[in-house]
């Protein structure tokens, strides 16, 4: 039994996932990170009480690429053995605004893609040398096909998905498990009061359960909830000639 490093533990899905992973009894320590760890104190005490595992908090700034190596070395030193890394953070800005503001577009690119490459490169080298462990990152169904409603965000997630695909291919030989999570719409702080309530809006607990199961069962790509696999398969199959006229 070793430790799990959670990058971006403030996110609703991250909190739910940590709870599920702590409950399964396969890991004895969780290192929760965020840019601002003050809000993680309650999660720390909650998980320690409910699941009787150790939780430590550590500051992590995704956009401070230069700091990543030192950060990761410190984590390894503290943890002893890392069982896995969960990358749970992401940035979603308004598409329309991002079309007019490269700064906003760049935030999404840097947070969702550049920083992921930076930190996961480091994690991959560690796990490759260890010849065990897992890397699990939250991408999005939005990365499966570019749509006018969110293609800037979607393209950053598409980049992440392809990166993870390659990483999986590379690390297969060393027995390291790489898991890509593609959630659809999830009922989080980001969507509450913004997206009309629909049955498509998934409960974060359900998503967390799928992530935990994906880790335990060593799945490659998990659409969550499952029906997004069907929806996205159909959307991907539409010919571009037709797709470009749609308002999906």
């Amino acid at each position: 039994m070793g430790s799990i490093l959670v990058l971006g533990a403030n996110a609703t899905i991250a909190q739910a996932t940590v709870r599920k992973l702590a409950a399964n009894g396969k890991h004895n320590q969780f290192i929760l990170t965020s840019r601002d760890t003050s809000q993680l104190e309650v999660l720390k005490s909650d998980i320690e009480i409910r699941h009787q595992v150790d939780v430590s908090l550590k500051q992590f700034d995704a956009l401070d690429f230069e700091s990543h190596q030192v950060f990761f070395d410190e984590v390894v030193q503290e943890a002893g053995t890392l069982d896995g890394v969960l990358l749970m953070y992401g940035a979603m800005e308004d598409q329309k605004q991002a079309e007019h503001s490269f700064a906003l577009a760049r935030t999404m690119i840097d947070v969702n893609y550049t920083s992921a490459v930076s930190i996961l490169n480091i994690a991959a080298n560690y796990f490759e040398a260890q010849r065990s462990g897992f890397i699990c990152a939250v991408s999005s169904v939005a990365g499966d096909r570019g749509r006018k409603s969110n293609y800037i965000y979607g393209s950053t997630k598409a980049g992440l998905s392809v990166y993870l695909q390659g990483l999986r291919n590379r690390l297969h030989e060393s027995g390291v498990h790489v898991l890509t999570i593609k959630p659809g719409m999830v009922d989080t702080k980001m969507t509450y009061g913004v997206v009309e309530p629909t049955p498509l809006l998934a409960d974060p607990d359900k998503v967390a359960q799928d992530i935990e199961a994906g880790i335990v069962k060593r799945r490659e790509v998990v659409y969550t909830p499952w029906f997004w696999l069907i929806i996205m398969t159909i959307i991907k199959l539409l010919p571009e000639k037709i797709f470009k006229r749609t308002d999906i």
């Binding site: 609703t12 005490s45 909650d46 509450y192 009061g193 913004v194």
Partner: protein
């Protein structure tokens, strides 16, 4: 900007249904922002929506969900003191602590309630006659008040606000976190003695022995009449000790995770009528015999939780739950007999009726239980004739110096409420002091004249 969803919501009785702006903050900062925003004229907290009427409703105003404030913050194994946020549910507490040998000090008939709701309604359980309400075990809680200040409340600190918040239906502020004591148990099982009583006299004779049992409750057939009026089954017991269990039980503290069924849609209004309920009651009464049995805790405390959304049984029009207490020193047996006769004559009651003895009032200004006997029953809403009938019940309760439980109420009139809860003025004084602008308000509080 705090975001809200405009939607129609209801309590557990599906009556009344009222629209409001529903917020769901996840952090303290978001909660403060909502309360400062003037987005809505006023706000009320909403936990799991298990109070029956309009306690957590706020027509055309703000309703703040507490479900994302569900973190446990501290636990002391030696004393059993648990500190947690207000949105933590009783179910979670059982799931986490029963396997470690701790149990809730007081639990209502469902475990799907929050800690915040348990305090705000000062809930009671089958052990009220011995242990009192949930708040007896609450050491302290933090209250976010209208001024934005967080004040600790206990019997020593801000005691006036403490006693106004206990049972104060969310009007003094937003309960953020609380510290309360869990009790030690050796098993997840209950030793229960079942005793049948053919009528109210027999039931009262048997109630005399209540002090010998930590938990006591009676199912009562509200449709039985004549010599059988008040026919009931008493269910009394305590947590089983380790030595009580047969050797076949390998994990004595493991709660049973039973198969759950779900009520998929609202039953047609006709499904529960006098004849079907009367037949059910006869069958139910006959199904019991006088015996002592070992039962798993959830089937003793929370039998209806096994049916998800059981409230849909009553159809789309919903139902009211009426719970009244008849004080000990005011001939409660006669009061109950008259109430049962009214119910049986009007053929209005349902199969879920519960009679139990209650202990002394704890001083919570709007806290319901007083020493005597409390009767709780569901009444489906079939027609508007129900409402005048409820007023007749209110008058009867008043005549015997009793009161009805606000957590179950949706129709009580202001004057009746004031007579039933003579400490309402003291409550209002503290309320006006801690929240002069009435930032915290609900459909219920306006109906009862507690806020503007």
């Amino acid at each position: 900007m705090a975001k809200s969803i405009w939607k129609k919501i209801a309590g557990w009785g599906n009556f009344p249904v009222e629209p409001g702006y529903v917020y769901r903050p996840e952090q303290m900062s978001e909660l403060s922002e909502i309360l400062r925003s003037h987005d809505a004229p006023n706000y009320i907290a909403y936990g799991l929506g298990r109070s029956y009427g309009d306690t957590p409703l706020n027509k055309d105003a703000g309703v703040i969900r507490t479900d994302r404030f569900n973190h446990m913050l501290g636990f002391d194994e030696a004393t059993g003191l648990l500190t947690c946020e207000a949105g933590v549910t009783f179910k979670e507490i059982i799931d986490v602590f029963l396997p470690r040998g701790y149990y809730l000090p007081v639990t209502p008939g469902t475990k799907l309630v929050t800690v915040g709701g348990a305090i705000a309604n000062d809930i009671h359980g089958k052990n009220h006659h011995v242990d009192g309400t949930f708040s007896e075990f609450v050491q302290t809680f933090d209250l976010l008040t209208a001024s934005g200040e967080v004040i600790p409340c206990s019997r020593e600190m801000n005691a006036d606000v403490f006693w106004a918040t206990i049972g104060g239906i969310g009007l003094t502020g937003f309960i953020l976190r609380a510290t309360f004591r869990l009790i030690r148990v050796e098993t997840a099982y209950m030793n229960v003695s079942y005793e049948k009583a053919e009528n109210l006299d027999q039931a009262f004779d048997k109630f005399a022995a209540d002090a010998d049992y930590k938990y006591s409750v009676a199912w009562i057939d509200c449709l039985a009449s004549g010599d059988s009026l008040g026919r009931s089954v008493l269910m009394r017991g305590d947590h089983a000790r380790l030595g009580d269990l047969p050797a076949t039980v390998k994990e004595p503290l493991q709660p049973a995770n039973k198969f759950k069924v779900k009520m998929p849609v609202h039953a047609p209004g006709i499904a529960l009528n006098y004849w079907s309920i009367s037949a059910f009651n006869k069958f139910y009464y006959a199904s019991y015999k006088n015996e002592t049995k070992l039962v798993e805790q959830s089937s003793f405390f929370h039998p209806l939780d096994a049916i998800k959304d059981w409230n849909k049984l009553y159809g789309k029009k919903g139902f009211v739950q009426y719970q009244a207490v008849f004080p000990k020193d005011n001939n409660p047996k006669e009061g109950l007999r008259r109430m049962l006769t009214m119910l049986s004559d009007a053929r209005r009651s349902s199969f879920l009726a519960v009679l139990k003895s209650s202990g002394p009032w704890n001083g919570g200004l709007l806290s319901f239980p007083v020493e005597g006997y409390t009767l709780a029953l569901d009444i489906p809403i079939k027609d508007d004739g129900l409402f005048p009938f409820l007023r007749e019940l209110d008058q009867l309760v008043l005549e015997y110096g009793g009161r009805v439980y606000l957590a179950k109420d949706s129709t009580l009139e202001r004057a009746t409420f004031q007579e039933m809860y003579p400490t309402w003025e003291q409550f209002k004084e503290i309320k006006d002091n801690v929240d002069p602008e009435h930032l915290f308000s609900s459909s219920m509080s306006r109906r009862l004249g507690l806020t503007r």
